[in-house]
Amino acid sequence: MQLATPATEVAFEELYRAHWHTMVRVAMLLVDDVESAKDCVQDAFVGLYRKPLRNPDAQLAYLHRSVVNAARSALRRRGTARRHLRNAEVDDVQGADHALIVSAEHAAVMAALRQLPQRQREVLVLRYWAALPEAEIAATLGIRPGTVKSAASRALAALETTLGGLR
């Protein structure tokens, strides 16, 4: 098979090295654990390897879209029909011994995030972690920019309510 010429192979390797880390973090925030996140990202890069894009500017958007889709599949299939929102042994909070108080606050935010519908969570992660502009979030999720805005404000309001109960 001749999928990629040596030159594009090199380009692909570069792309992989440049974006693997970023993508795993995005996926991790969507699926809650690093191992699943790495699988999602591997999946996304395989897609790109199989179907190289002509326009290099589109690659990042493609990766984001693939990662979000892979994360959705991973979440969807975790329960027979239940979405796995919060695994009690949350990796992100027990990993470190330091900064206990700060991490309790962050754990509360992450717990609240997990209670949101997945679409809202995706919007928040892409907006506040990946820092994508609204138009790109819309393209990634296949929704209209207006929907991004309204989903984000609904999600923030829900977070505020949940976290407000803590004070």
Binding site: A88, E89, S103, A111, P117
Partner: protein
């Protein structure tokens, strides 16, 4: 956590939490594993998910094993004992209260079933008095026995009534002298003055002041307290790591309504990336579960609090999740375990619920 009358905007908190979580789980500078090219020929473009994933998953596993990063604190999977030697163990378990003859018989059968899950090739059970059980097992090294051999393994599904509260040692006035587990089960609702809510509707029907009183009880709860095992009463439960506190309603499915469980292998094509455990329910349990999930799910009432259900094992929340749609079959209770962990959990659940918790007093090589 500190009390903030004028806390940072939720956006600021969110940004900080996302960044902290991302950095902690995947530290800066973590190198990617080498990219493994798909071994199979190309398929028509457009599809993102790949059927070559099993091979890839294997490649990823290899890459991870070789990879230098140490991010997870997950315990490595145990290797089975070498077949050449036949290690054995003598395990002494003791109940905190005397057991009836019936309970002792039940415990004996369950413990032998659990021993088989651990890989015992043979074993015998000796009952000493009314509170001590001595297991002599061949084929199980002492290291593989585990403190949970005598745990009840009572699994229940309970609704999560309010949003989860973080637990940190500072937030609870915990007496430092007593250790968890040894403390008697406390009744958190004694001082409440009204019946604690058994479900979300009951909580929402309370007055604002009453809701506040319930929240305060939850906030003051110490995760070191032994969790209550009363199934028809709301409880406060924590997760294993003691990072979160949950107010849980009366059990939707009680521990005597769960049946055999099976470990299910990762199946990348269907998106299950780790080993999981699927539990079956008794016919009555299944009816109750189907009735609850039919009424409370994301399709019918999006973002309703009553959609959130916790899987509770011996009073500890092992997972809380949202019901997406009615569940009328077996239910996957937990994922992300290793193969050994999933098989052990499934096997222990299948063996049944011990009539009382047994403390592992000693484990000696035999």
């Amino acid at each position: 956590m500190t009390v903030q009358s004028d806390g940072p905007a939720v956006e600021t908190q969110l940004i900080a939490a996302l960044a902290d979580t991302a950095r902690r789980n995947l530290p800066d500078g973590t190198m990617p594993p080498p990219f493994r090219q798909p071994a199979e020929p190309s398929r028509p473009p457009g599809r993102i998910r790949s059927w070559a994933l099993p091979a890839l998953a294997a490649a990823v596993v290899v890459a991870l094993a070789v990879g230098a990063l140490v991010l997870t604190h997950r315990s490595p999977e145990r290797t089975p004992p070498a077949a050449t030697s036949t290690p054995g163990s003598v395990v002494t378990l003791r109940s905190r209260t005397p057991l009836s003859a019936t309970d002792l018989r039940a415990a004996r059968r369950i413990l032998l079933d659990r021993a088989r899950v651990l890989g015992a090739q043979g074993g015998e059970v000796r009952i000493v008095g009314s509170d001590e059980i001595v297991l002599t097992l061949s084929g199980v090294a002492p290291d593989n026995v585990g403190d949970d051999l005598g745990a009840r393994y009572a699994l229940e599904f309970r609704p999560v009534l309010i949003d989860t509260l973080p637990f940190s040692a500072r937030s609870a006035p915990a007496p430092s002298s007593s250790s968890a587990g040894s403390r008697p089960a406390a009744d958190p609702w004694r001082s409440l003055g009204f019946a604690p809510p058994k479900d979300v509707a009951a909580f929402e029907a309370l007055s604002g002041a009453q809701q506040g009183a319930v929240r305060t009880v939850v906030k003051d709860w110490d995760c070191g307290n032994a969790p209550s095992e009363q199934q028809d009463v709301p409880i406060i439960a924590c997760d294993q790591a003691h990072t979160a506190k949950y107010l849980l309603g009366a059990a939707i499915v009680a521990s005597d309504q769960t049946g055999a469980a099976t470990a299910v292998a990762p199946d990348a094509q269907s998106g299950r990336y780790g080993w999981g455990v699927v539990a079956t329910l008794t016919p009555a349990g299944q009816r109750q579960w189907a009735a609850y999930t039919g009424e409370h799910n994301e399709v019918k009432h999006p973002t309703d609090q009553a959609n959130v259900v916790a899987d509770v094992l011996d009073g500890v929340v092992i997972q809380a999740s949202t019901i997406e749609e009615q569940i009328s079959g077996a239910t996957e209770i937990v994922t992300g375990l290793g193969q050994d962990g999933a098989k052990r959990l499934a096997g222990f659940l299948t063996a049944g619920v011990l009539p009382a918790p047994l403390d592992v007093v000693s484990v000696k090589p035999n």
